[in-house]
Symmetry: C2
Subunit: 228 residues, 2 copies
Amino acid sequence: MYHKIQKTIICITDYMTPRTSIQLEKIREAKRSLIMQSALEHFAKNGYYATTISHIAKHAGISKGLMYNYFPSKEALLKEIIYNYIQEIYQYFDINRDGYLTEEEFEYFIHQIYRTLKEKKSFFQLLFQMMMQSEVRLKLIELQKSIETLAARSDDSITALEKQIYKTLSDYFKRKKEKAGQEYDSDLELNIFIYTIKGFALTYVFNETEFDEEYFEKSVNKIIELYK
Amino acid sequence: MYHKIQKTIICITDYMTPRTSIQLEKIREAKRSLIMQSALEHFAKNGYYATTISHIAKHAGISKGLMYNYFPSKEALLKEIIYNYIQEIYQYFDINRDGYLTEEEFEYFIHQIYRTLKEKKSFFQLLFQMMMQSEVRLKLIELQKSIETLAARSDDSITALEKQIYKTLSDYFKRKKEKAGQEYDSDLELNIFIYTIKGFALTYVFNETEFDEEYFEKSVNKIIELYK
DNA sequence: ATTTTATGATTGAACGGTCAGTCAAATGTA
DNA sequence: TACATTTGACTGACCGTTCAATCATAAAAT
């Protein structure tokens, strides 16, 4: 079925071009995406090690060998997936780059987290899994660093995202402190808040009982109410 | 060689036992524990699939083959570990079997969670990993059910523990509701509380930066303060 | 005290299966 | 024809598992 889609794409791009140039590149890119999508689903569901290249290929409607035309190795494929998603998710949270969060923006921020979790569920499943194996995590970080030439960021993508979020929130909670009395420990409250978000993310992302979305939305609103 | 065969034949004639002492059983049990300990550490650090029997055996100071004298398979070893720890942890939380939690007991309960996380860090690392792979989780549940003859519990150990905790807490939060006004949604607050605990557990258990214990203890106290 | 013997513990080479990765050939495509 | 894409049989390494053989020890026999 994926195979058919792929053929269609080729047909569409079948202009009179004598040159196999930029169009070709686009087809290639589309297929790359297809493979990554298939791989992500398998990695997320069964884990990295339990997933075989053959399964990924079959699901993507291509042969095993072709995989290696697009990615040099299974590990490279994994890293590429993670790197790409991280980059993409980065965009979502670039809005508050001034570092100042209003209450409204804070609310938006939390909702944005929820939307992102929902939209990229599989990716977060994979990410959680990755972050729980020190061996793999180290490998990832090490390799992110070697890829970093691509972006102008000097720190590794995974923790960079975490850091940016942390910084913005830290400022927000500090400002709350100024408003509130002396008793209020902003760092501590921030940490508790992060635990809550983490726990929520974990629960949401790995929830299989096809819970109501409404249930989770209520939780999101409660969290906002508690911490805004 | 031939010599050996003769021995075997004699063996068949089946004299009564010049057998070793019953204490042998204790040594056996000790070695079983040793293997399980070694396996747990590897599983926790590198994940189930990335861990080889050879590694476990080498770390335990025994040969690969001997592993199979104590456990029928790698998977059985995993299940045995999880089952044992679950059973053990059960004990810790059996105190409030009456289902009624006072504020003091609630405080104790949270502290107990923290102590358990600390004491059985590796196990919780493994457990978190397991719970994130649907494939493995299903296998586990299915097999727990087949082992259940051992204990008089009719539901599987992992979720049973979860359920018991949930029930006790649910009652506690409901009672809070009665005290507080109408605005208070006990179920919702309970869920948020659980997210927080989960997030805290996740952070604590996979923390590698050798954070101060003091830091986490402060968090524990804050959580108590927020939810008691 | 010494030797014999039975038995469980232990070893590691070997087996069978799996899987990441390769490559020569086939199949388009211009 | 020339060039690119795609395939899937194949390879070599690895790993869970097995098993024939050895070791260690305690009781029995001498």
